[in-house]
Every structure is written in C-alpha cells, then in structure tokens.
Amino acid sequence: MKKKNENQAEVQERIGVYVCHCGSNIAGVVDVSEVARWAAQLPGVVVSRDYKFMCSSPGQAMIIKDIQEQGLTRVVVASCSPHLHEGTFRGACERAGLNPYLFEMANIREQDAWVTSDKTEATKKAKALVAAAVGRVAHQQPLEALLVPIDPNVLVVGGGIAGIQAALEIADSGNHVYLVEREPSIGGHMAQFDKTFPTLDCAACILTPKMVSAGNHKNITLLTWSEVEKVDGYVGNFTVTLRKRARFVDESLCTGCGVCQEKCPKKVIDEVFEAGLGYRKAIYRPFPQAVPNYPVIDKNNCIFFEKGTCKACEKFCPTGAIKFDQQDEILTIEVGNIILATGYDLFDARKVSNYGYGRLANVFTSLEFERLSNAAGPTGGNIVLRDGKTVPKSVAIVHCVGSRDKNYNNYCSAICCMQSLKFAHLVKEKTGATVYNFYIDIRTPGKGYDEFYQRLIEEGTLFVRGKVAEITDVAREPGEEGKLIVQVEDTLVGKQRRIPVDMVILSAGLQARADAKEVAQKFGISCSADQWFIEKHPKLDPVATMTDGVFIAGACQGPKDIPASVAQGAAAAARVLSIIGQQQIQIEAATAIVDEETCVGCQQCIASCPYQAIIYLEDKGKAYVQEALCKGCGTCVGTCLPKCISLKHFTDDQLVAEMVGAMRTMKEFELIPMEAAA
C-alpha cells in the first residue's frame, strides 16, 4: 500500500488497523468498510480490515495471523471502550508474540456511534479517531508490567458480621489474619439485635458461634479496643500502624469472672451497645458473650482517673489483673491485603423534629427497640414504655425515617421494611398490642421476605399507606388524651387520620459511619457523596476498590442486610485469597518515571501526587516513583517544571502524534466548522 501523506516523516512501523462492526452497534451508524478503506492510506498502515466482531475468537485470530504473517509491529483496533476489551486485544497481541503495549484502541462506539445520529458525521469522526490512534501507536514503546510479591498476611478492619466472616474464611485457608475492632468486643450491630428476619433466629445465637471461632482461631490475631492509625505501602506490601488502646486490664491474668463490674460504683449510660437506653459501669464488657471476654476501663468515666480514689475493681479482682498504669501500645504490622468492614451508623432521628424523638418520651428508635426486646437488654426483654414498667397496648411503627428524603438522606436504607415487619411481630408476640405499620412502599425483595410480609398480615398487623407527617402529644378530642398521636394521610383512602398509640418505633435509616471520610483517606480509597465507600464497579465488582489490595465488605459499602453482608465478607475473602494464591501480582506498566540526571530535587511532584506514590531519596537528592503505587494519572508530569518526569505509555511524542492525527483528519473533513453553521 502506498503511503501518500506529504510532510509526514517516514513511518518505520508496520501498522495493522481493524475496524469492528460490533454487530449493528457501530456499523448501524458508521460506514465501517469505508473507514477501513480510508485508513489504509494512513502513514505506516500495511493492513486495514473491517470485521463483524473483533473481540470474538475469529476476530482475535485475524490479528494474530496478521502479526505473524505480515510482520505487523503495531496494532490498532477501532471498536468499543478500552474498559471493556483493551485487555482482550492486548492479550491477543501477546499471544502472537507482540508486546501488549504496542497496541492502541480507538473508541468509535461509546465516543462516536452511540452518541452521533448523523451517519456522515459519525463516519468522519470515526476516521479522525482512527487517524489519532494510528499516529499515536507508531510512537508507542514496548513496556514490561511490574511484578510484586504478595505478603500472605491480611488485615480485616471491623469485627461485625462481614468482618468476622471474611476473617474466618481467610483463616480457614491457612493464612493469617489480623482482625482489628474499635469496640471492646467483636460482634458489631448484629450483637445488639434481638431476632433476625425473616427466620426470627435469635441474633446472638447465630452470631456468637462465629465470634467464638474468630476469637479462638489459631490463624486470627484479635485486636479489639484498637484502631488503625496509619497505612503505608501498596498491594502485597502494606505497613500498618495500629494503636492497641490500654484496657487497664492484664489479658494474661483476667479470667473474665466479672466481679470488677459488679463492684464498680460508677454507673454510666451505655450510648453504644445499649443505644443510650441502658447502663454499664466504668469498667465493663459490652455484653455477656463478648469476645474477647476481658473488660475495659472507660478512662473518661472512672473515679480513679478522675479523682485518684476508689480502685474497687483492683481490690476485688481475684487474680490482680487490673493495671491502672497500662499504656496504649503502638503496633506495626505487615500485610498484603486489607478488607474494610466498618459497618454503619444509625440515622440520628432527633433531626426529624416532627417525629418528636428526644422530646416525647415514648418515641423510640429501631436500635433502642432492639435493646428493649433483647432478653439481655435493660428491661430483660420486656417491651415497656420509657417509664420502665408500662406495657403498651398500641404501637406504631414508622417506616422511612430519614431515608428516601431529600431533607435528610436521599437513598432507601434497604433493611427498614423487613425490620419494621420484624418489630411488628415481636411486639404482637410479646405484648398482644395493636400494631400499626406506616409505610410508603413495602420493600421485601429477598428470599422468604415477601412471605414474611404475608405472615405479618396474617398476624393482624394494621398497615396504613402513608408517610407519617407528625407525632404529637397534643390531644384534640377525648380518646387522644395521654397518648401519642400519629398524624398521617391514609393515601389509599385519601383522608387524614389521627391514630392514638402508646408507643412509637421509628425505623431510622442507615448511614455511613461519622468518620467514614477520614477512614477512606487513611486507606487510600474514596467515598461517595453519601459517604459510603466506593466500589470498583457497582454491578460487576462490588467488593473491590480502585485501590489494589484494599477491599470493602458489608454495610460500609451501602445499606444491606445480614445475608448480603456475609456474602460480601466471603467475596472479599475470596478476592484476597486469589491474590495471595498468585503469590505475585502484575502492576499496570503505565507509570511515571523520573529522569535522575535532570531531576533537581524540588519535590513539587511529591506534593502533587494524589496517591503519595513518589518519595524523596535523601542520599541522591532526587525524586523516585514507587511504581506499584503509581496510578499513571500524570499529575506529576504536569507539575514538573524542568520536565524530568515522564509518563510511560503517555509520552509527549505519543500524545502529540495522537492530536496531529485527529486534527489533520478533522480539517480534511471539515469537522471543525470554519465559519458559523447556516
């Protein structure tokens, strides 16, 4: 084929161009055979074909054949997005013996056929995109992907059901796990619940065996009352600094007998485990089945730390395990992979002032109710009003509190409908009270979930479709005196109703942990606008993140129920085990590189790197890019004034050639209007 373009330095490479029809996705709009015909005259092109499905086996075989028989040194495929098939075609090149970085893709589907209606214009644009790719690929250089070894230790942050599941799966495989939990015991929110839907299994009964396994497992190092302070490194090679907070109890001596808690004179409202509804002592373990079973001393509420007196726990401890002089321990561990399973916080229902939580005594939140119903809770499992003794005769359960609401959280919290049905059942079973559920929709998608809804209807729950407008204690007529009145529009009847009840339970929504943003930053991952951790792909990769080696599982990724949390915990474990199993991992080769000779050591690039991938070599006075951490974003390249950093696979030559290829074509086809359109 004759190369005809004037002013073009002679191109040494032998370039193959393949234009894909993608069925009718591209061919329906772009004249693909015309594009292939036209591309043949671009400088360096020796082969130019079009084909129905380039990603198929015959399509790939075509490329391999041409590489081998026609001696191609560069390949361009004009088809879909590189996100989908760059890997496919790079793989084909590699199998043919051509370095995969000598391949370039032109996206004439998402960037052309799918967004252009005019066929002539679409074809012209396709030509420009192909010309750009052809120009670029001629300047591309072979690159080798970096291989890094994987440390088989794993860090799991968060000891709720998702974290426990992940830890157990990895530990069972023979690999070692550090399970770090902020509270004195693992168990998370699930330990607070009474029963779980839809089976009405007792939450503690199904959770504690897993907790005990995790506590006893030879491959799990349990670090409770601890937090991660710093994370350095990259996939396969993380260095994590932890703070193991002082319990003021010597774990090697403590037998978990509980005498210290009995004797402690200082009672404090337990805001965490008892949801503010019950009390604990200054020395406490959050619940009887705590794992590990050693108590901690709450320094801020302990008489000894406040005034220097008391020491009742020390006096009565039979093994002398109380150690007031214990210090926080800073630990540094090396792990290869990290799983974040930090869970959720409950939406603060005090914000919804028309529901009166915090002002009206007998309005409770979901977690408060779980504690009421739980046999180990502050009322021994009796469902009573705030006075601690009266059994309610009528109860209202309000769905969607703080969820699906532009005034608070926009999203649906996924579990509240099922949870509200569960509450209705528990109330009915324990008190025989009249139960109302106020809802906008009933969302019961899981296995056995809609059947659970049917069951609740059979049990006599009264369902009113209407989002509760107001909960008030101001009576308007005799029957309302001394009650809480739920004011709502029964939308199915089209009338406003005022329903007097004794007790109201608010199904408050789930939201991301208050410190989610800081935690994300610590681990180098991102949060969405709602502050849930962001997954790599919402459909196809929900447990991975954009940071290699860091995975997420459970409610921290978004509101979900226990089965989904367990599944994600297991999924994250599987991903980690697959990385460990590979023993080494390939890192994308398009990384930045510093020219040591010209680098002046100004460190501007270090400051600008969003991934903290560049370090300063003190002895040489030069910057150095840690390839495994580099994401190839190019920020440092733009920042470096003397231009001594370059980005492999995105060099100036390549980028300029790409632009020239495109612009020349656009000019030829007048894709850039020379004067205003008529």
């Binding site: 002032s353 915090g358 005594a361 705030r386």
Partner: protein
C-alpha cells in the same frame, strides 16, 4: 448601632398598632436603628399570589427595588410581620432559583422605572435580628422588671420558621429563638408544642369554621399548659387569636380568656416601661390578670402540672444542639 431598612407592612399601622408602638419603644434601648422604606406598598399578603403570578411578584418586588435604591449600607430589610417577611424573602429567593421569573418581574418593574437584582438584599424577620444581631446579652442587660412568675406560651406562627430557605432558624417545628428571648426577659416559658402551628390566616374571612378549629387548638393547648399569656410575632396571628377569640368561644361553647400580645410588648414591660407605652390596651381579650401577676412580688411559683418528669425508668436521648451559638446560650440560661 446597626441600621436596618424597615418594611412595616399594612397591619402595623392599623390592626397591629400595638406592635409598632412597642417596637418603637424598645428599639432605642437595644440599639436597633430602623429606617422605613420610602413609599412602600402592600406586599399583597396571601391574596395576590392566588390571582396571578407576575403581578403578585411585581407588587412585592417594587418594595425590594425601592429598598435597594435607598442605598443603605447594611442592605438588610427587616420585616416584623410574618406574611410580609415571607413574601419579600420568597420573591428574592424564587427570582434567584428561577431566572425566568426574575426577568419577567424586572420587565414589569421597568414600566415604573425600577429594577431589582435578586440577591441584593437580605430579608430578615425582626426576631431574627434581635436574637442574632443585637444578641440576648444586650436584651438581658436592659431588663429592670423581670417577668418572673409570668407563664408565657411562645407562639411563633407558621410563616416565620417555614419555609426558611436561607436557614435562619434553629428548627422548622420547634425553634427555640422566641423561648430564649422570653427567658431572657425573666418569664417562665412553657414548652408550647403548637408553637409553629397555623392560626388559620385569612380563613377567618373565607372559611370561618376551618379557622375557628385552628384557633381553638392553639388556645386550648396554651390553656392546658396553664399559660397566663401568649406572645407572638405576627399581626395576623395576634388578630386571629385575639379579635376572634369571642367568636371561637361562641362556636365551640367554650370560655377561654387567653390574652395574646406581641413579644415586643413584653420586652417593653421588662424594660420597665409603662403598659400603655409598651402598646398595651388595644387588645380585645384583657391582659389585666396576666399583668397583675408580675405586679406581684416574687413569691413561690404555683407548681402547675407541666410535662411529666421521669424520675425512674429508661434514659432519654440528649437533645440535638441545632445551632452551636444557641446551644451555649441555652445552657447559660439554665
């Protein structure tokens, strides 16, 4: 001394005379300088909005245009009347949210040689300015006759705390601003649950039965809480609860005698002014009994059954601090 542009509103000169008198009396002591907008016109209340969009907003915006022209450095318009306040605030807000509306309104204003750039002025309610600009400390310092023993039901009405597009108020349902002001005057403030419930507005003229029911709810609740007097910020609310109390009583066969005054009147009393200087005397439901209460020396207060205080039982969650500056102050009040 801060200077504000004042939009009095039509009621201030007639039915809410007590408001304007008491406002004039207390403004100087607390250092509130008010400059009336030249030749302001009626804001249209809730009437013009129900007839036609552009004329309604043009009517309101003539005032905004005049105020902006008056070129007062402060650029804050204070409206004591809730409906006027809401209309002025809404007009400015909607013209910003929807540029098309701003264009139409300005086109209409141009026929009168006026124009208004949305966002130029800040529209604030009188109570907002007293709490957040003047400050409770200043108010407290002027109190010479604390209203000790006077049980006051703070009644804010609906149009001040809602819709509150500029987020000036601590809450939409149970804001604490008026409570704190009354506490600063030394009064015993009841935790009035209907403090932002509607008085019925113009329904007294259009659909009296609807209005009477709304009025009854408010008065009976204040009565249940054994309030001596209600304090409000809005001329319409005062009118409805005061002037229509007799008709409401007649309609329901009740016999309430709940006086209702403007909060500025109570401020006047607390500042040591004589009742007639503080705007008293024009209300239809007598305030005699209530005033007598604070003429009496500070004896033990009658313990009235307030909200049942739990002594035993399960703990309640702590209240949510809505605005940090108010939270600190309310702690100080305790």
């Amino acid at each position: 001394m801060a200077k504000y542009l004042l939009y009095p509103g039509c009621s201030m000169e007639s039915s809410a005379k007590a408001y304007s008198e008491s406002l004039a009396a207390i403004a100087k002591p607390i250092g509130l300088e008010l400059e009336e907008i030249e030749d302001w016109n009626c804001c249209g209340a809730t009437e013009y909005l129900g007839i036609s969009l552009t004329p309604a907003y043009a009517l309101i915006s003539r005032n905004l245009a005049l105020a902006a022209k008056q070129a007062n450095g402060n650029k804050v318009v204070v409206a004591p009347c809730s409906a006027c306040y809401l209309n002025l605030a809404k007009a400015d807000y909607y013209m910003r949210e929807q540029p098309k509306l701003g264009k139409m309104v300005n086109e209409a204003l141009s026929a009168g040689g006026l124009s208004y750039e949305p966002g130029t002025l800040a529209i604030r309610h009188l109570l907002d300015v007293i709490i957040y600009d003047i400050g409770l400390e200043t108010v407290k310092s002027k109190v010479v006759r604390p209203l000790t023993g006077l049980r006051v039901a703070p009644y804010l009405g609906c149009m001040v705390p809602r819709p509150d597009y500029e987020k000036r108020w601590s809450d939409h349902e149970h804001p604490i601003e008026l409570d704190l002001l009354l506490k600063a005057l030394g009064a015993e403030v009841i935790d009035f649950p209907l403090k932002t419930h509607c008085c019925g507005g113009h329904m007294t003229q259009i659909g009296p039965e609807t209005a009477f029911e709304l009025i009854r709810r408010l008065i009976s609740s204040a009565d249940q809480y054994q309030a001596d007097i209600m304090a409000t910020v809005c001329p319409m609310c005062q009118m409805n609860l005061d002037a229509y109390q007799t008709e409401t009583n007649r309609y329901f066969g009740t016999n309430y005698q709940m006086p209702i005054v403007f909060f500025t009147q109570l401020m006047g009393l607390a500042f040591g002014l004589e009742p007639d200087t503080a705007g008293f005397g024009s209300e239809l439901v007598s305030t005699k009994r209530a005033l007598a209460k604070i003429g009496v020396e500070i004896a033990e207060t009658e313990t009235a059954p307030a909200r049942p205080k739990k002594s035993s039982g399960l703990p309640m969650p702590k209240p949510l601090p809505r605005k940090p500056e108010l939270a600190e102050k309310s702690e100080a009040e305790k």
